[in-house]
């Protein structure tokens, strides 16, 4: 039995946890302090964890009562908007604000741009206007006259790596290759490939994807002075990081932390692009200070596409081989991708099949272009890499005549995967798949061919303590307020925190109230890397447990019972001698006092059942081989992420990942015009996002698992679910048609081109 302990903690108690899942249960010893909660495992009896609980703020959202940053209207509030560069490269010669300032309703117009800086892409902020109405902003923006000197630009990877390409930054457009860890040299790869029974040498391409959160980036700022004359800045921000916004604003405006309060109760999506005090936060604050009025500065949809981030594209050249039994022996990837003006393509090629003995080499080139900067986007780098890797694996399996799932299992050490595949095969009807592709039991009718495909993902971030703390207040009326300063970007964080704290406390869930999104509350994480779930749920469990102990300590004397003989079980206070009090009755004993605790989350445990989360997705598609149109018929998505706190919101996360994955697979693409350097589709008309009519049947399965990584046993879930969808669809297309589409999105033109190429080749 392995021992499992927190780092650097003196311990006085030992439990044996049962971890894993049905069919694969292991025992781990865990040591803890007496007053610490017993970490949740397979044997923990839950009151409501693991059930289906409608999210706590669902009604607020569905009735329109939820107030997002965009919805904040304050008395006397002004509206602000940026003026942005209209050349892709060059310099700003002059910015004339005078005409704008002369317009009715214009309260301020400020130069944002430093004339010394080069223009790097079309869409950088050069000035900002501030007016009484939003319509006046339209007029004022147009009245700002900006003169540019144009320079040559380059907006695609292919163009940027040419020898004579205009230089985007201060150095060569393509970085020196980053060589992955444990890389062998090319000769060793070549040698391994020579011994392989099957090899592939192919190039895969993925597109630039924009986050397109429905609420654009934006801020409402109100700079005030209190009665003593002390300055205070209230900020409503559409953000994934309330505390990072506060920190950034303190720095930019030279304020102390206590002078800035960031509020973010509801956020209309983020997907990785909303961290920190962005230019909306800083300029809304500055303009509020200048005008003495609250200022709302929300980006337009066009700005959102141009300058707030995106998922880099990729050109991945893969050479790979396996032996005759399907064991991978060599994997060589050369990858080019652009993060626009930042030298970070984030297009790493994360490979989840790494059998012992496989020779690997990854070379990655980040290529600068005159395009808006990339930003982390839901599982950064993984969807790009998986699109190539998961198809290459299928291509090798095909060559050996092996089932793609059997092939994967040979090379996959992830413990839950065999069980996940078994379930997945059943749910999709894998036995209907014609191994040879093309016509078969799924043939479909006439030009319409059906096929099945599969792909998997592994994700490895589990959150941590990082100073996260949770405050809980139990009031005499029985309500339990749970507070943390972080945000809920739609992932269900509010509900997750409430349920974990409530479960550990034992109170009825109807009594739980959760307050998120105020930096005056205890510190919480920024929502990135899927850390919010594991971080906050463990904090919730521990704080709930601490609140219970505090509550019982206070209650004992009032009930005339030894506190140590009391417990809260399933919404009732019970004593060892068999007495019990309803929650409300017990709380009423508090009189006018509340029980209030703030608990700082403990560290993660050294090792649990598995340090990563994983899942499999299986897709059935229908391809119209005459028009190239791909229709997804069904997707089965099976995902583990430790303890399933709320099955309903867990499934929603998986559903969302799959739907975004479908959108990435078939529709989305940022189109840049090489001549002008402009984005041609900064809208949601021709930047195409999957709609209701595109939806297949989607079966989501929360794969229960006790991982013992932290008190709640919860891992990150938001990101991994978006990874396998596109390659599963691609593999299904290949199974349906017998041809591979190696470029995203798999639009009709590309499907038709692949079919035509195959036909040409056959002749």
């Amino acid at each position: 039995m392995a021992s499992n302990s927190r780092k650097n903690v003196a311990l006085d108690r030992e439990d044996v946890l049962k971890l894993g899942f049905a069919g694969n249960v292991v025992e781990k010893r865990v040591t803890r302090k007496d007053d610490e909660v017993r970490p949740w495992d397979l044997e923990t009896k839950f009151q409501y964890v693991g059930t289906r609980v409608p999210r706590f703020d669902g009604l607020a959202k569905a009735t329109g009562r939820a107030k997002y940053t965009y919805d904040v209207n304050l008395p006397g509030m002004l509206y602000a908007r940026f003026v942005r560069t209209t050349v892709a490269a060059g310099t700003v010669k002059e910015i004339d604000l005078s005409k704008a300032l002369a317009l009715p309703g214009v309260k301020a117009a400020e130069q944002v741009w430093d004339l010394k800086n080069p223009v790097r892409y079309a869409g950088q902020a050069v000035a900002v206007v501030c007016c009484e109405t939003s319509e006046q902003c339209d007029d004022a923006v147009r009245a700002v006259k900006v003169q540019y000197e144009r320079k040559p630009h380059v907006v695609t990877v292919e163009d940027a790596i040419k020898d004579d390409a205009p230089q985007v930054g201060n150095r060569k457009n393509a970085t020196e290759p980053q060589i992955g860890r444990n890389a062998v040299d090319v000769e060793e790869i070549d040698a391994a490939l020579k011994t392989a029974a099957a090899t592939v040498d192919v190039t895969y391409r993925t597109q630039v994807q924009t986050h397109t959160a429905l609420e654009t980036h934006g801020t409402v700022a109100h700079f005030t002075k209190d009665a003593t004359g002390a300055e205070k800045l209230y900020v409503w921000a559409s953000t994934q990081g309330t505390f990072t916004v506060r920190e950034g604003l303190c720095r930019a405006l030279k304020l102390e932390a206590n002078q800035v309060e960031v509020i973010s109760e509801f956020v209309g999506g983020g997907f990785g692009a909303k961290f920190g005090a962005d230019e909306t936060a800083i300029w809304a604050a500055r303009l509020s200070k200048k005008t003495g009025a609250p200022v709302k500065l929300m980006l337009t949809r066009k700005e959102e596409h141009l300058c707030t981030g995106n998922r880099p594209d990729s050109v991945q050249h893969v050479r790979a081989g396996c032996d005759k039994d399907g064991n991978l022996v060599a994997w060589h990837v050369r990858n080019w991708g652009t993060g626009g003006v930042v030298p970070n393509a984030g297009a790493r090629n994360p490979m989840i099949y790494t059998p012992r003995g496989m020779k690997t080499r990854k070379e990655e080139f980040a290529v600068l272009t005159n395009c808006g900067p990339q930003a982390a986007m839901r599982a950064p780098a993984h969807p790009q890499g998986a699109f190539a890797n998961e198809q290459v694996v299928d291509e090798l399996a095909e060559k050996l005549g092996m089932d793609p799932i059997a092939f994967r299992l040979k090379n996959d050490s992830y413990k839950q995967r065999p069980a996940q595949y078994e379930l997945g095969k059943k749910l999709i009807g894998w036995e209907r798949r014609n191994p040879k592709g093309g016509d078969g039991p799924l043939a479909g009718t006439g030009a319409r061919k059906r096929g099945l495909g599969v792909a998997a993902a592994t994700w490895g971030v589990n959150g941590g303590a990082d100073g996260t703390a949770v405050a809980i207040v139990i009031s005499p009326d029985g309500t339990v307020e749970v507070r943390n300063g972080c945000q809920d970007i739609g992932t269900g964080t509010r509900t997750l925190l409430g349920l974990t704290a409530g479960e550990a406390l034992g109170c009825p869930k109807e009594k739980i109230r959760v307050r998120l999104g105020h930096t005056t509350d205890p510190f919480g994480p920024a929502s990135g890397g899927s850390v919010t779930g594991p971080t906050l749920s463990a904090a919730g469990v521990e704080a709930g447990h601490a609140a219970k102990l505090a509550f019982l300590r206070k209650l004992g004397p009032k009930l005339g019972v030894e506190a140590s003989s009391l417990d809260v079980v399933a919404g009732k206070v019970t004593s060892k001698d068999g007495k019990s009090w309803s929650w409300d009755d017990a709380c009423r004993q508090l009189g006018v006092e509340s029980v209030e605790i703030t608990h700082t989350r403990g560290e993660n445990f050294d090792a649990g059942f598995q340090g990563t989360v994983g899942g499999v997705q299986l897709a059935e598609v229908e391809v119209d081989t005459e028009t190239g149109f791909v229709r997804v018929i069904k997707v089965v998505a099976i995902q583990d992420a430790g303890t399933v706190i709320n099955r309903l919101t867990f499934e929603s996360q998986v559903l969302g990942g799959v739907i975004q994955g479908i959108s990435y697979a078939l529709y989305e693409n940022r189109w840049m015009d090489r001549r002008s350097g402009f984005m041609l589709n900064p809208n949601i008309e021709s930047y195409k996002i999957a709609g209701a009519a595109d939806m297949p049947e989607i079966v989501t399965v929360a794969f229960d698992l006790a991982n013992g990584l932290n008190s709640a046993g919860v891992s990150g879930l938001g990101e991994p679910t978006v990874i396998p969808t596109a390659p599963a669809i691609a593999n299904a297309i290949a199974n349906a048609t017998g041809v591979r589409v190696r470029e995203l999105p798999m639009t009709p033109d590309r499907v038709l081109a692949a079919l035509a190429a195959a036909k040409g080749g056959a002749k």
Binding site: A22, G23, A60, L423, A690, G691, V699
Partner: protein, 237 residues
């Protein structure tokens, strides 16, 4: 903001001043031919003198004018320039912020409201055009502090994540259920063609539609989401 009567700008075309507080519809819509005028045959231009007898047109703006909108059963007075969209009028003048601005171009449905019982993108509609029309937003679907059956079903089915698209979907489904006696997952899917969700909640929206229609049927079974949803399977223990 100025109302038109205070406006200093000449209004050359305005033969009739806008009547404050009176719906625009009450002016000009009298004594009209109810069929289209007789039309000459192709290639034979004809002159129609009827235009000369037509009542004068209503002219508003370009400065702000006062209009009265019927929103959620209440008469709401506000000052708007003619260029102000219904969406901005609701959000920025009346503080009715449920309808969201996402694309501002009629492509996403987040701003969906009902105008005279029909689904409309309020971002592509002018506020001044809506005088005399019945406007419904999510805020009006249930008394303050309560929730309509549709909103209720959205929350129960978790047909929302970030929730920014949700008010638009709630309006679309509300309209769908008013007009469709036996809604199905498929009919709800068709109804939602003009609404976009970035978080990816569609299938649950369809389920919410069906649940709302059969109110009181309880929670949908877990696991499957979509047409022919699968059983509530779970892996592991």
């Amino acid at each position: 903001m100025k109302s038109q009567d205070e406006s200093k700008e000449p209004q050359p075309l305005s033969r009739r001043r806008f009547l404050q507080g009176v719906g625009i519809h009450s002016v000009g819509a009298v004594a009209m031919a109810t069929t289209l005028p007789k039309v000459a045959l192709a290639g034979e231009p004809s002159v129609d003198a009827s235009a000369l007898q037509d009542p004068a047109p209503n002219t508003l703006g370009p400065d702000a004018v006062e209009v009265t909108l019927q929103v959620n059963g209440e008469a709401r007075k506000l000052q708007v320039e003619p260029r102000v969209t219904l969406l901005d009028a609701l959000r920025e003048r009346l503080d009715l912020t449920a309808a969201k601005k996402v694309c501002d171009r009629g492509t996403c449905g987040a701003c969906t409201v009902l105008v005279d019982g029909e689904l409309r993108y309020s971002c592509m509609t002018l506020a001044v055009e809506c005088v005399g029309s019945k406007i419904e937003t999510v805020e009006g679907l249930a008394p303050a502090g309560q929730a309509s059956a549709v909103s209720e079903a959205f929350a129960q089915c978790d047909a929302l994540q970030c929730g920014f698209c949700t008010p638009g979907f709630v309006m679309t489904i509300t309209h769908h259920l008013r007009n469709e006696k036996s809604p199905t997952l498929e009919s709800a899917k068709r109804a939602c063609q003009g609404n976009l969700c970035r978080c990816g909640t569609y299938n649950r929206v369809f389920e919410a539609a069906v649940l709302a229609a059969t109110k009181g049927a309880g929670l949908p079974s877990g696991g499957g989401t979509g047409a022919g949803a699968g059983a509530g399977l779970k892996g592991g223990n």
